[in-house]
């Protein structure tokens, strides 16, 4: 027999207590892995979502640039608009590689989506210039399949055509050729105007905010929302996207009244920084879980040591050295932690989608796609960390057991 197998058999002596201790460790590992996966996944999702906006730089009306960026990601009301002439001016800038005007509005849609009640529901409407918009987002393609074949962008100056993102079309149960009704209160008016549109295209899934968007020509959107010659943002790709060039570009155009230039890298880093702030709190939660689990492990092993005082005495009597006993108890602690680590990792991986759904349900964070990313590195670090915790948690019980004098241990066992 080996020490390790004796250690496992000793844990089996009180299966319920050992199982509860392992469960405590696994819970802590699961929390740690899930939170780490969330932080990782969320940062990655922010980066991807912003990258999928397709712009390197945005020009928008003065206001909070991060609020505007978030609006772009998840839609919303209270948007600020800038004059369309800004677009005409900026497109002539020699540093611009490509540029596209975007108008964003929020419209009330007819009820009838999957799971929708009769109460009001809204959708994000994005007015675009199809040619420049599609050029900037080279990954956009039309969905294929029954009901989707024949998809296309709008005809020039079409006033009643919309292209739907994949999720928007699925949710509204629309296909190419269907009608789609939107109700909008145009700027300066108090009554909503119902407009009928024809679905001329459905985009393939992108995993970005575009999936839930209804697109129409930006001039049509301007008319529908009663804001002629106004835009929400101007999206830009620069020929040379380096810090100094972005700086120079920004300085050239920030002089325009009521306009601000926002680099997407800046938005990214700010949003990631906000996540980093939350990371501190989440780390504290994980640390508390780990501390509680560690106390549980120490308590369980220590109780087990006291219960086996007589046995430890007899083991010493028949030749076990201090280091033998230390090793045995230490291995028991490590075994509990290792089992907890494995169980915690498995639960975290299996429950990742559940956690994701929970977060997305509780917090509308405006990020599409997977936001919990559990990598082998995260699992490896969690397992290694738990073993290290076990390494230290086992020191005291192992030392107590090793320090028992055989005579006293046997006598206490008899008493």
């Amino acid at each position: 027999m080996r020490f390790i197998s004796l250690a496992f058999k000793n844990l089996w002596r009180r299966p319920m207590r050992s199982a509860l201790t392992v469960a405590g460790v696994s819970l802590a590992v699961m929390v740690t892995v899930s939170l780490s996966g969330f932080i990782l996944g969320y940062k990655r999702a922010i980066n991807e979502s912003i990258d999928k906006l397709g712009f390197q730089v945005m020009i928008m009306a003065k206001g909070c640039p991060y609020e505007a960026a978030t609006m772009m990601l998840k839609g919303g009301t209270g948007l600020l608009y800038l004059p369309e002439e800004v677009y005409d001016q900026v497109r002539k800038d020699p540093g611009v590689e490509s540029i596209t005007p975007v108008f964003i509005g929020v419209a009330e849609k007819e009820a009838g989506g999957i799971g929708e009640s009769a109460s009001k529901s809204y959708t994000v409407v994005t007015g675009i210039e199809a040619k420049t918009f599609a050029a900037m987002k080279s990954w956009l393609t039309f969905a294929t399949g029954r009901g989707f074949d024949g998809s296309r962008w709008f005809l020039p100056d079409a006033e009643d055509e919309v292209v739907m993102g994949y999720e928007a079309a699925t949710y509204e149960q629309r296909k190419v050729g269907d009608e789609f009704y939107l109700s909008v209160v145009p700027s300066g008016r108090t009554e909503a105007v119902m407009r009928k549109f024809k679905v001329v295209g459905v985009l393939a899934r992108t995993g970005s905010q575009d999936d839930g968007t209804v697109f129409m020509p930006y001039r049509t959107a301007q008319k529908v929302f009663g804001r002629p010659a106004r835009l929400t943002i101007v999206g830009i790709k620069l020929k040379d996207f380096t810090g100094p060039m972005v700086q120079q570009f920004s300085e050239r155009w920030v002089k325009l009244p009521e306009v601000q230039v926002v680099g997407m890298e800046q938005v990214k880093s700010t949003l990631v920084m906000l996540v980093s702030a939350a990371q501190v709190m989440l780390t504290a939660v994980a640390v508390i879980a780990v501390v509680v689990a560690t106390i549980g492990v120490v308590n369980t092993i220590l109780m087990s040591v006291y219960e086996r005082t007589g046995e430890i005495g007899i083991m010493k009597a028949i030749g076990a050295s201090r280091s033998d006993i230390f090793q045995l108890i230490w291995l028991e602690t490590l075994a509990v932690c290792a089992l907890g680590a494995v169980a915690g990792c498995v639960i975290a991986v299996l429950g990742a989608r559940l956690v994701e759904r929970g977060i997305q349900t509780l917090l509308d964070i405006g990020i599409r796609g997977s936001i919990v990313k559990i990598t082998p590195e995260v699992l490896g670090a969690a397992t290694a960390g738990t073993i290290v915790v076990g390494f230290f948690a086992g020191l005291y019980p192992a030392w107590r057991a090793a320090s028992m004098r055989p005579v006293e241990a046997i006598r206490e066992g008899i008493d």
């Binding site: 020490f3 000793n10 009597a317 028949i318 076990a320 201090r322």
Partner: protein, 238 residues
């Protein structure tokens, strides 16, 4: 005494063991001289608190004396550290206690093989079955302790003591948890081992009748040997 120095496996001279209990010093053992020979079974008798267990603990190397000299299997043990004492015991001593101390999650065979792990010796199934055969439990090798009677558990404890082929077997109240019939059977088994293995056996008991089945009987009182007399080992083999 009518034996040669070479036959002596344990020799104690002026053995003392004092304990501190608050401000009081308890003289658990107060100057004991004793020689134990190879292949001899010695009973230590005496009332509770007379120092029986203290003497056995010292003679077995479980504890170190406060004063005096003690030689076990040729090694002086006075002043040795705990790990050095463990080294003296390892492979030399076998132990049987009133409480069996079998590990409940190990089978009978695994319990018997446990000391080999601490001696860093490989466990051979033949040797295990050999000692189990000797204690009459060959057919119980794969059973767990909870499936055994008290007498059987004590036999497993004896087999565990024998697996390392010790020179000395320490049996501290081995019949204390057994009924008289099982107690006698265990005593008879131990007695038979003395002959078959040339074991030196030190046994403590409250049962005077069993105690006198040894070759020699030492009676302790107040930490001193007050009487040393021959036993009646023949009775045991009847």
């Amino acid at each position: 005494m009518g034996f040669s120095v070479a036959d002596v496996i344990i020799q104690a001279r002026g053995l003392k063991r004092y304990y501190r209990r608050g401000i009081e010093t308890v003289k658990a053992l107060d100057g004991v001289d004793v020689d134990l020979r190879v292949g001899e079974m010695v009973s230590i008798l005496g009332p509770s608190g007379s120092g029986k267990t203290t003497l056995v603990n010292l003679l077995s190397g479980l504890d170190a004396p406060t004063e005096g000299t003690l030689s076990i299997a040729g090694r002086q043990v006075a002043g040795l550290s705990e790990d050095q004492l463990a080294d003296v015991r390892r492979g030399t001593m076998g132990f049987v206690f009133q409480k069996f101390y079998l590990l409940p999650t190990l089978t009978v065979a695994e319990n018997v093989e446990l000391p080999l792990m601490f001696c860093r010796r490989p466990a051979g199934r033949a040797a295990t079955m050999g000692v189990l055969r000797q204690v009459g439990l060959e057919d119980r090798a794969s059973h767990f302790p909870r499936e055994l009677s008290g007498g059987q558990m004590q036999r497993v404890a004896i087999a565990r003591a024998l697996i390392v082929e010790p020179k000395i077997l320490i049996a501290d109240e081995p019949t204390g948890n057994l009924d008289s019939q099982n107690g006698e059977a265990i005593f008879a088994l131990v007695r038979s081992l003395v002959a078959s293995r040339s074991l030196t056996v030190i046994v403590t008991t409250h049962n005077l009748r069993l105690g006198y089945l040894s070759d020699r009987v030492l009676t302790l009182q107040d930490g001193k040997i007050v009487k040393e007399e021959p036993g009646s080992p023949v009775t045991a083999t009847r």
